[in-house]
Amino acid sequence: MKWSREPAKIKTSRLRFNNHRFARRIMTHLQLSNMNLKTQISLLIYLVLYAVMLGFSLSSLIILKPFLYTENNESYIICNDTSRFEIGPNFIFAFENKLDPVNDAKARKLCQYKIISDYSNVYETPKNTNYKFYPVLKQESSWANAIFIFFIMVNIAAICIEFIANRLLTVSDDFRFGKVFTNLIKDLCG
């Protein structure tokens, strides 16, 4: 039992040592050791606020990313007897490129008997497919929209964080990368 535990202990201590060295390297590189505790905590809060803001802005890219959907208003079926029906106004709907079994039955009845909303199944569903479905696909949102909202979110959040940093935090100007955004807004506003 002792034999099996020892290598694991060595691994953990190596990992801690490496993490410690990495942290020290970052601290040396950014010259954080010269700062007092209050400034270090201020910088940490400043960085965390920006990281959270960046995370939420990236989320907006995912939420607003474009997708295709079937436009029920314009999609239509053409029956074997060449009659044409729009699906949505005839209570047939498609959420994908094809009709599901329930809506397939509705389309068959529409083509065969020219009836809609036979929910009590008075008419028998034709056994063979007697129509062709032509879906009209439309795109909701776009990458341009998503990226635009991403930049708007980044700018608004940066202005808020810089406002907080000016009032409550003691962050050196050397670290204030967010000032780019506030300067940009100042320039735009004249």
Binding site: I26, H29, L30, Q31, L47, V48, Y50, A51, V52, M53, L54, G55, F56, L58, S59, I62, I63, K65, F67, Y69, T70, E71, N72, N73, E86, I87, G88, P89, F91, F93, F95, D100, V102, S117, Y119, E140, D174, F175, F177
Partner: protein, 80 residues
Amino acid sequence: MRLIGVTLLEIILGFIIFTVFLYNPSVRYFCRRQIEIKVYNYQQSVKKNGYFSIPQDEAYIQTLVPKMVRECLQAEGVDK
């Protein structure tokens, strides 16, 4: 040079927060939004002829929604 270092650190930290905490909820929200837009599109198309959507259809759509959400999540690689 220090500013570049902090900016890079910031971007990496932001990506980590996004990947660990925010990616999953964002995809779930995206899928819900996608399905709601599809359902809303059908409800609007029914109104074209002056009707309101039929309760039987509404009930059927409600049974489809969880399946569609699951399929969307699987397509996005969140729910396996």
